[in-house]
Amino acid sequence: MKKITALLLALLMGLTLLSGCGSGTADAPATTPAPTQPSPATPASPGTPSTPAPAASSGDLMVCFASDPETLDPAKNSSVDGATMLENCFSGLYAYDTDASGNIILVPDCAEAIVEPVEIIDGKYQYVVTLKPGLKWSDGQELKASDFVYAWNRAVDPATLADYQYIFDVIDGYDDVHPNLNISCDDNARTITIATSAFCAYFNQLLAFPTYFPVRKDIVEANPEAWATNVNTYVTNGAFKISDWVVGSYIKFVPNENYWNAGEVKLSSLTFAFSDDSDAIFANFENGTYQAIRNVPPSQIPMLKETRLDYDFIIGDYIGTYFLQFNVESSFKPGLTTVGKTAADWSGWTPEQNAQVRKALSLFIDRNYIVDEVTMSGQMPAFGFVPKGMDDGTGTEFRAKAEPWWKVGYNDYDANCNEAVEILRQWYDYNEATGKFTNFPVFEYSINPTAGNLAICAAIQDMWNDYGISTTVDQRAWNVIQTALTEGDFTMSRLGWIADFNDPVNFLEIYLSVSGNNHPRLGKAGPVGGGAYYGAGKNAVWSEAFDALITQIKTTSNLADRAKVMYTAETVLRDVYAVLPIYYYTDPYMASPDLHNFIHSPLGFIIFRYAYLS
């Protein structure tokens, strides 16, 4: 018995070694696990032979912008990465394109022409959009006006669980619980009739937004959740259609022969590879695997800027603001060792004084240093909340005309600091010899610890430290910090906001009293009383001072008048100094010089509809 066991054991060891040699040196290379792995996304097609990820050859484009999208359902997507894919495989009523001089413009896509709204009753406006004749879905079926109406009604239905449900709020009849959109269609005449509840300056842009793309009722209803995860049911109407999807690896699109302008689509395939390791993404760009990437490693940016700017390293426009936000309920009352939120912390201290303290904190920040030495990708120091690149609706850039919140010239920093010292000296002890405040309450700086956020945090901490202002860093994972911000469980945090559409209201409406993104809690119930203004020298409540302006913006049809209200609203927001803009985003990306004719939209979409490789 003993002998047999020993023999078996020896055999086992031998086998281990043998199989080790075998699979280690000969078999392993032959078994490439990922491509042959049946994609979870295609459960219905186990027999579909999945092709290996395509190699770079003329016409086959492989790009890498991020990791897997949460969803490719136009109604449910809310990420820029998902939107980029949707922009390439769906076609909305309108689309983004470039004009002869390279400017981004809106052009009709499914629609025959861009239409002007007509005022109907009660300040409502009506759009009658006509579809091009003979439009088809990627499976060859006719694309009808009712497909758009179905898609929009589906997206606003709370049961659909759409992230961007509220992007339909400009349409008459919108309600987030019981929506009844004022839209109708005539499939024979190919028309869609839409009524907006008021004049909407950016409605044309919405008609090019992914959430407004059509989806097909029979497809969706047969498989409400999984239709957008299955290659066989993912029917689209854009320049490309899906051909292969390996979750965690890549999605491959091929030209859609049923796209109305299929003749102009030149790529033979478009593959979105998934990865979120910036070093690996960069390496794959350097060896030619990818022809376009985002997420450039910060460590490479100085080198790329120096040697390859505008060759294959491009600093694209991106409409967005990086800012610090304060919880207005946190009191900086002198004498406190750390900021507090109780009624006692507020006794003898006013919201107006608190706002002035935040203003001083903002003036101590050297924004030029941050963009030149820390972020280094062509960002611009911020001097207002609405970002650069945003139009005020009259064709004028908002920032060009809006009142600057502070000066950001290279020579202004000293004056800013002096002004800040003067403000704080009114209430805090200042040591002339050291130039530092000695009793400023310590507060927490909350961030999700990405390399960029940490570096900016360290720089700002240093700037404040020079004046005796101490902060402790509170690092929390993105998802955890999101909850804290929503619940007001923070004193100060960083945040970035990227535009959904090019209109300042997209930024201003964040701070409506009821907004879920109003992290500073402006106008919410707090220790100083419900709905308090927390502003400088005013007694109005926030909803009267600010919400009313937003309503006015949303209902004013005269664009010049509307712009005026937007400028006022931004000033009202400035005066509470609850948000301290730091810089305006850019989108540093890399694209092979061989890749031509793609569209980089300042909203973050990269569109390869008519792109080609030379």
Partner: protein, 308 residues
Amino acid sequence: MSAKMAKYIGKRLLLAVVTVLLTICITFTVMHAVPSSPFNKAKALPPAVIIALEAKFGLDKPLTEQFFIYLKNVLRLDFGDSIYFRGVQVLDILKGGFKTSATLGLSAAALALAVGVFLGSLAALGREGIGDKLIQVVTTAMVSLPSFVLALLLLWTFGVWWPILPTRGDMPLGSLMPIISLSLYPMAYVTRLTRSSMLDVLGQDYIRTAYAKGLVKYKIIFKHALRNALTPIITYAGPMIAYIVCGSFVVEQIFSMAGLGKHFINSIQNSDYTMIMGTTILLSVVMVTLNFICDILYTVVDKRVDFS
């Protein structure tokens, strides 16, 4: 099989099941104790949508009720839908991930064992020679190099500067670099283990006896020395295979492969509750099973193991 052994195996089996149950329990509790929500997006969702989402995933029920519902579903192998990846079943993601990680892991483990045992024996036989010294230095370096440095080094060396290997795991031959990255650490460890174990065995009386009896050298080395020297390697190999099969976040991340390691880390970052539970259960089952097999093998290998 003796009654004693059967009892031992039964006990181990029971322990394995209890371990998995405990893991489920702890993960569930800790996961819900983290103050985050899968529905907290950078741009806040409308309240009506959040309520509907919570109802859809049963998150509106009391925690204990959620736990028992989950347990009941898991027993029917129903892991639910991923909360993050809309409309995708957790089981489908896990199947794909396990296949990727297991293929990578088993190949790497086999490579590590084969090369490690070979190099280790070589070093022991040529003790204190140049080969031995070289192997010692290289293995020390390999054991101390973090895997992300190693993987990046490989990526840049053979993928960019001297581009002879594909850089994505899903390309033909793409699993070569990930397998090498994964195997270097255990390979170095096995080499060192084999060397010391071999040296130990080579110094034993029965080896001297074998030489004295005039047996052929290769027979002494392979039949008597190596076989006995392998015992500690088997002990190491069990947990090593279990560990490596569970996937490496770093290697999967760098070579863009959708394995268990990547799914596990990402699911936590996304607060994807169903995915976190699914990956944890799968990983703990794999671990417990391999350890169980190891325990059993152990009793076979070493008769001195006490069944009580």
